[in-house]
C-alpha cells in the first residue's frame, strides 16, 4: 500500500483537534509508520508546505490573512482537504459573536491597540475553499479521527451516522436531562458521534458538534420557551459553536 502523504495544520483554534491526534497514544506509532507526515508544525520541525500532499487536515476557523494564506497554500498543494473539528466546519467558539462587530470585540480586549490587528470574523473553511470531508466536534472524537485515517489508507472517507445526540444518549440509558430535569439540553439538534458524552456524566449537551442535518430547530425552540427559558439565553447557548442557526427550520 502506498503511504498517503498528509499535512496537519492549525488556524484560529485552541489546538484541541491536533491534540486529539496526539492523544491517540496507542495508535500514534502506527500512524507515524503508515503515513508520511509532511507538514505538522505542532509536532514536526518543518516550516514549509511543499506538496504534493494527498490529504491536508486543517483545524480551526479562518480569521486572519495569515490563516487564509496557509489554507490556500494547503488547498493548492493537496488532493483532499479535511476540515477537522467544529471551528473548521462551523466556525466554532470564536465565531459565536460573529453577528456583532469585529471591531468592537477587538476594542473590548485590546483597547486602542485593536486597530493594528489584522483580523476578520472567524469563518469556517468552506467559505474560502472546497472541503472534501469534515470531522466535527469540539474537540473531535478520537474514534472518528482514527476511522478517517484508516479510510484514507484505502483512498476513501468513512460514513458517519447522521442522527442526533439523543439517539446515542437513549441507547446508553442516560437520564434525559431535558425531560426529567428540565435542563436546556441541545441533544436533539446536535450531530451524534460523541456517544452522548455529556449527558452520560449528567451534564446537558452544549452542542459542541454542531447541527445535525435533520434538526427541528423551531420545535426545539418552542419546547425550551415552554419550559420557561428566556429566548436570549436559548440563542446565546445555541450559538456557542455555530452562529448561523435557522430558527425557522423544521426538518
Amino acid at each position: 500500500m502506498k503511504k498517503p502523504i498528509i499535512a496537519i495544520a492549525g488556524l484560529t483554534a485552541c489546538s484541541g483537534c491536533q491534540l486529539t491526534l496526539l492523544n491517540c497514544e496507542e495508535e500514534l506509532p502506527e500512524i507515524a509508520q503508515r503515513f508520511i507526515i509532511d507538514y505538522f508544525p505542532l509536532g514536526l520541525t518543518e516550516r514549509l508546505i511543499t506538496g504534493p500532499i494527498d490529504v491536508a487536515i486543517v483545524e480551526g476557523a479562518v480569521s486572519t490573512p495569515s490563516d487564509l494564506e496557509i489554507l490556500m497554500k494547503l488547498r493548492n498543494s493537496c488532493r483532499c482537504l479535511v476540515a477537522l473539528g467544529t471551528c473548521a466546519l462551523w466556525g466554532g467558539i470564536a465565531a459565536m459573536k460573529n453577528q456583532e462587530s469585529r471591531k468592537d470585540l477587538a476594542g473590548t480586549v485590546y483597547g486602542s491597540a485593536a486597530d493594528e490587528l489584522k483580523t476578520f470574523n472567524p469563518q469556517p473553511l468552506h467559505r474560502f475553499v472546497k472541503i472534501d470531508f469534515a470531522i466535527t466536534g469540539c474537540p473531535p472524537e478520537k474514534g472518528e479521527l482514527l476511522a478517517t485515517l484508516a479510510a484514507l489508507l484505502r483512498g476513501t472517507f468513512p460514513v458517519f451516522p447522521r442522527y442526533p445526540v439523543c439517539s446515542e444518549c437513549r441507547s446508553r440509558e442516560n437520564l434525559c436531562l431535558l425531560i426529567e430535569r428540565n435542563e436546556m439540553c441541545l441533544g436533539p439538534l446536535i450531530q451524534a458521534g460523541c456517544n452522548a458524552r455529556c449527558p452520560a456524566v449528567g451534564i446537558r449537551c452544549e452542542g459542541c458538534r454542531g447541527p445535525v442535518t435533520e434538526a427541528n430547530v423551531a420545535a426545539e425552540m418552542e419546547l425550551f420557551l415552554k419550559k420557561g427559558f428566556p429566548r436570549d439565553e436559548i440563542v446565546s447557548r445555541m450559538q456557542r459553536f455555530y452562529p448561523e442557526w435557522n430558527y425557522e427550520q423544521r426538518s
Binding site: A150, A151, R154, G155, T156, F157, V159
Partner: protein, 282 residues
Amino acid sequence: MRNGRDMTMVPLPATIIGRKELSADTTLYRLTLESSEKDRFDFNPGQFVQLSVPSGGEVPLSLAGPPLLHYSFELCVRRVGHVTDMLHHLLPPNRVGVRGPFGNGFPLSEWTGRNILLIAGGLGIAPLRSLLYALLMRRGEFGEITLMYGAREPSAILFKEELAELSGRRDMHLFLTVDFATEQSPGGLACNTGLLPTLLRGVNFSTTGTVAAVCGPPALYRCLLEELQGFGITAEHIYLSLERRMKCGVGLCCHCAVGDLFCCSDGPVFRYSQLKGISGAI
C-alpha cells in the same frame, strides 16, 4: 448454506474477472465466485445481489447479464457514492463479497406465448438486459419482443456495441431515444430524440396479449404507466422493478417497505396492479 457459510448473511468471496467502462460513470463488471461455489450461482433476471466492497460497505445491484454465464455473472454499476466509488477503483483480480441472489425476479414462465415489451430508462437497462438475454435464450416460447431504451444523451447510452448487434436481429425490435441530442453520435445507432413516452407513442409495437417490463427512475414510471394502460396493457401485465434503500436484502432491516410489501423480498419486481393503491410506491 453453502460450504459451511450462509450466503444470505455472510458475503462469499468473489473475484472481479472483467471490467468494461460503458460510460463516464458506469462500468460493467464480470465476477466469479471462488472455485468451490462457482457452479452454484443461478438466478432469475430481475434479481439482485448485495455486493460488498471491503471497508466500504454493501450495496444492492441488479444482475445485469444472462443467467448461467459460464460460472460468472455481470453487474452494471453507476458510480454515485461511497461504495460504488470504491468499487470503481477495483480492477481484476481484486476481490469483493457477494450475497444473494435476492428478490423475486421477472416471472418468465408466466409469460409464455405473450408479446413482450421492455422499457428501460437510464440504468434501468441493467436488469432488463439480463431479462432480454434470458428471453432470447428461450426465444421460441414468446411472441414479439421489443426493447425501448431511453438515455439522457448519446454518450449515456450503455452497451452500444451490443445494441448495434441487437438492432440487426430479426427476432426482436429495438428502439432508442435520447432526451437531448448532442453533437456526439450514438455510435452508428438509429436513435430518436425525446422522452420515452414520446417514443412509445411514435413507434409500432404489438399491444395485444402484451406484457410490459419497465425499469427506470421513479419519474419514468410516473409518466409512462398511464400511457401503457392507454395502449390496453393492463396493470396486471405491467411489471416494474423498484429501487429502495436496502441494508440487508432479506426483509429484516425494514428500509424498503412499499405499503406492506418489502421491495427486497416481495420484489423488487412488482405488477403495477400490486402497487396501485399504495401511496408513495411510485
